[in-house]
Subunit: 605 residues, 2 copies
């Protein structure tokens, strides 16, 4: 069979193509292309995990399992099960994030937005200038300002830190260079052959992700993630705040570790792409309010105690050199606005990436983590809150919980009465990550193995007594990668009940504040790694999310990171941050009169 008889399958948004025979399913094509689509049932159409959308081309008819399990809206939209669908022609397939395995999903960065150059934060202007002579004794500064003016760029000052090397550099480069301006300030000069670069950084409590961007083409040149080195001072920000308070040099230490890591990231990204760190002239950092304060070496004492007051809420631009970042001496760091002590710049960045402020619809957006930040946009106002959802979805406080890593159970479902699960990278199971835990509880509840209070039906198979109460055996010892059975305990279930009820209570209180009902939410945006990979059906089933039509949900990946990239490029978006925060009202949940009642109501599964 020649190449000519093969059909081309184009997978979006991953951008991979593969040629297959018409007797091969789309699932097989994806596997051949190295794309990890979730497929718990082994391709029988019974798990429904491998949903894809046919964007163009012709494929085989709907099978009976698909007709049964896909709803009319999905069918109308071209949704299919990849395992049940065979190509008839070349086809273009869209894989929604929920059908991808964790790792591949984490690599999805969303579409890069295009910004008009008039919005640019940083401008590069190539200049070819005459050197000073006895008849033209203008200072270097005035000489450049005059030349920029001739090029239509009016500056009012030159960055002080940059002067220390500028004059020698200009003469070595014979007055030919790109002038890098930021608003009305000249911040750097670079060779004509170089591009000005930017770094967008999303500092999470656990992980730090950085993107290196060409500020002339707006292209992402490279990205890199590392662990947040502050982990060694405490897993959560509360213990890090305690460390800062209890140790005289604690704050400096915590900041120092972070700066050191960022410098390593910057150096790695430059090495990987063959760029110079001197080219980096703008940095955007998004993070939660505590990390924000650590990064800027702001006092955290008042942030750690009731009523959790941040030092600032406004956006801030400051010289990168004053933080000790090894980039251009004239570079600035921009950190967006905070909303409150526990609703930080990373949430603002996520809201900006989700364009929540530009939509006339009623939109709810949340980012699930140890603290879950939720914002509800309704009729020109935004209501925001933070819920102490705890680290259960990150695998902490769960007996066999783990982060999303090789061998973590990431999907689980009863198929024909048997519990089927999928592990990350198909390794032997070693634990359960957030999405797996959510699936397990959803599917066990559905099967009646646990009741609405989270108690086990002790008569069910695989339910057995445990040290405290009972537990469900997810993986028997013989199949386990850790030489013991992997179980879900009654205590684990309680942790999840606490987490999900915290999140749901946050949603409910915001709905009360906006005086609307859950069904009024027209768009429900779920951001973050776990949020993007969780099963919406199970999240609704256990009551974490309200029961609204699935097509109103969007799982948008690392929206905070995307927001940071966009904020690196667009001055207009920075202004949007101010507008957004101006119309945002922070709702302190714990002091809300309905909080306790709602929380108790939400405790059932």
């Amino acid at each position: 069979m020649s190449d000519i008889d093969l059909l081309e399958i184009d997978f979006e948004p991953i951008g991979k193509r593969v040629k297959i025979k018409s007797s091969q399913s789309i699932l097989a094509a994806a596997q051949a292309a190295g794309i990890q689509i979730a497929a718990l049932c082994g391709g029988y159409g019974t798990c429904g995990a491998c949903k894809v959308r046919v964007m163009s081309g012709s494929v085989s008819e709907l099978t009976s399992v698909e007709t049964l399990r896909l709803n009319p809206v999905e069918i109308e939209a071209g949704m299919r099960f990849a395992c049940q669908t065979f190509p008839r022609t070349d086809v273009k397939i869209n894989i929604p994030p929920e059908s991808l395995s964790t790792f591949q999903r984490l690599q999805l960065e969303g579409t890069e937005e295009v910004f008009d150059t008039s919005e640019s934060v940083i401008k590069a202007t190539p200049l070819h200038m005459p050197p000073p002579t006895i008849d033209d004794l203008r200072s270097d500064s005035l000489r450049i300002r005059d030349e920029l003016k001739r090029n239509g760029i009016q500056i009012s000052k030159i960055n002080f830190h940059y002067f220390s090397s500028m004059s020698d550099w200009l003469r070595t480069h014979e007055w030919e260079f790109k002038a890098i301006t930021r608003g009305d300030e000249l911040i750097s000069v670079i060779p004509l052959s170089a591009s000005p670069l930017g770094i967008a950084v999303d500092i999470g409590s656990t992980k730090v992700a950085a993107y290196l961007i060409d500020l002339e083409t707006n292209k992402t040149l490279a990205k890199k993630g590392i662990m947040n080195p502050q982990i060694s001072y405490g897993e959560d920000v509360v213990s890090r705040i305690a460390y800062a308070n209890e140790n005289p040099d604690g704050r400096n230490e915590l900041q120092g570790k972070l700066i050191e890591s960022l410098n390593q990231l910057i150096s790695d990204l430059c090495e990987e792409t063959g760029q110079g760190a001197y080219q980096i002239v703008e940095i955007v950092v998004v993070c939660n309010t505590a990390i924000h304060h650590f990064f800027l070496n702001f006092p955290v004492r008042q942030l750690g105690i009731y009523p959790f007051i941040p030092v600032i809420d406004e956006a801030i631009s400051l010289p990168a050199i004053s933080l000790g970042l090894n980039v251009s001496r004239g570079a600035y760091v921009f950190v967006p606005n905070n909303i409150a002590g526990y609703v930080g710049a990373d949430h603002v960045s996520m809201l900006i990436a989700s364009k929540i402020n530009l939509k006339e619809k009623t939109v709810l957006a949340l980012d699930i983590g140890t603290n879950t930040e939720i914002s509800l946009s309704h009729q020109g106002k935004i209501y925001s809150c933070s819920c102490a959802s705890g680290p259960a979805f990150e695998g902490a406080h769960i007996k066999f919980g783990m982060r999303a890593a090789d061998g973590a159970i990431e999907r689980a479902q009863f198929i024909d009465g048997h519990l089927k699960y999928q592990t990350i990278n198909n390794k032997k199971p070693v634990g359960i990550c957030g999405s797996g835990i959510l699936d397990l509880i959803g599917t066990l509840r559905d099967a009646g193995i646990i009741n609405e209070r989270g108690n086990f039906n002790r008569d069910c198979p695989n339910v057995r007594p445990a040290t405290r109460n009972y537990e469900y055996v997810v993986v028997p010892e013989k199949d386990s990668g850790i030489k013991e059975a992997i179980t879900l305990t009654r205590v684990d279930i309680n942790e999840i009940i606490l987490a999900k009820s915290a999140i749901r209570t946050g949603i409910d209180v915001l709905l009360i504040e906006a005086n609307i009902k859950a069904e009024d939410i027209e768009e429900f945006i779920v951001a973050g790694a776990f949020g993007t990979y969780l099963s919406l059906e199970n999240a609704i089933r256990i009551g974490m999310f309200p029961d609204i039509p699935l097509d109103r949900f969007q799982q948008v990946g690392n929206a905070a990171g995307i927001g940071a990239k966009n904020l690196l490029l667009s001055q207009k978006l920075r202004t949007e941050c101010d507008f957004l925060c101006d119309k945002t009202r922070y709702v302190e949940l714990t002091s809300h009169p309905d909080f306790k009642n709602i929380l108790v109501q939400n405790m059932s599964l």
Copy 2:
């Protein structure tokens, strides 16, 4: 004799009072008050050095020597010789600076100007604020901004460097404090009981003078001078530039020494006045362009080579913390505009203190030093130049030359055919300082002992052969404090001829550029220590200054320092600096077509 019979003599501008008998002269009264009035002739009215002005009260009639030596304008103005005048009632006496000894003159700071608070660079607003509560979760930053707005002060940001300690501080001080604002920025918060302070610094190549100012009362609390520590890298800026160019870390070293000294000055001034360095929120630094570049760690290579291009000419405000100054973390350093590579911010500061830009008259202002900066203001334009006048007037390159210190001959004059001299603090003569050298040459020329070329009349007494050419014995060995005769050599005279002709050529070229004649100069301002103490008659006699009426001259002391103090207090004056520099044209003498001719013409005495 009871106190009641004594008359009170009030000396201005020194502000000292003394009671004397009516049989004592004003000179004796001054000496009793510890005021060193120049008196070469020992009180016989023959030297004319002890001129004072009677401002109020009644005194003895004019004596015959006074009638002979004072001109009608002086007599009209109430001028008298202190040694010839006896009080009849309590009197108030003004001592013009030229009649004071060097040291006392250096202590004259000129009248402190009064500025309207609307001009203030720094504002202090007392605030008593409610602390955050669960019903008022505003960030610290917003809380202060809102409160300032209620007090009519709109700020757009809070100084980044200040945040690192602000929140803890506010809570310790229970939200009662003075908010220190600079334009639209909050830069510090201080206790209600404290005042915001400023430091004005005049960094000369040789000396550094600093003034500690209360920015609420505008009063000078203390002043202190030290040697410029860069002296050890070369007496003049040219050798320091060479050091910076030749040593990899040279610039950092030169800057470091300066910052270290300023920190010492700041700490001394605070200790002396019982103030805290944290109260210092604004610093003004004036200096020549090379020192300016060293202070800011700017490149100096291009400043040291033809055509001597400065990095910047505009004024600059920068965080004091970025220079390593131990003051408030939010403090700024303001450095005024430069005019050119050899006409610096200190000259601009002097011009501002002299209000040259506000006068409609034709004014010439100069500051004599190793480089003498001259500006001529005429019909709305200012012409500025710098002359390489050399260090002769500072005592360098002169056989027995010395700086103005104990035992330096500071005044000399032929009285009744005998050379009379006066030394600083009446110590045994050990050398000759600038004003003494000028007096000697003027008086020797007047007496025909040297001719217009500077050659000695070998027949005159005290002229004797020297190693090279001839020399004049000023102090015979027996009267000398250094165990050898103190002489003025032919070589010394040449040095002075070079210096004075450089200065006069600068004046002449500016007059040509403005297309006016010397007699058109309506006001002639001489600034600086030497400039203030020199004898105007002798400066005119040797051709250093043009021969215009003496009453057009003003000797204004350390006008650069006064300008720095004023710039610390008035935003309006900072704006004036820009206006002044905008209408100033720098004239490069060495490339002026008439330069060489005029220089040669000015070589005669």
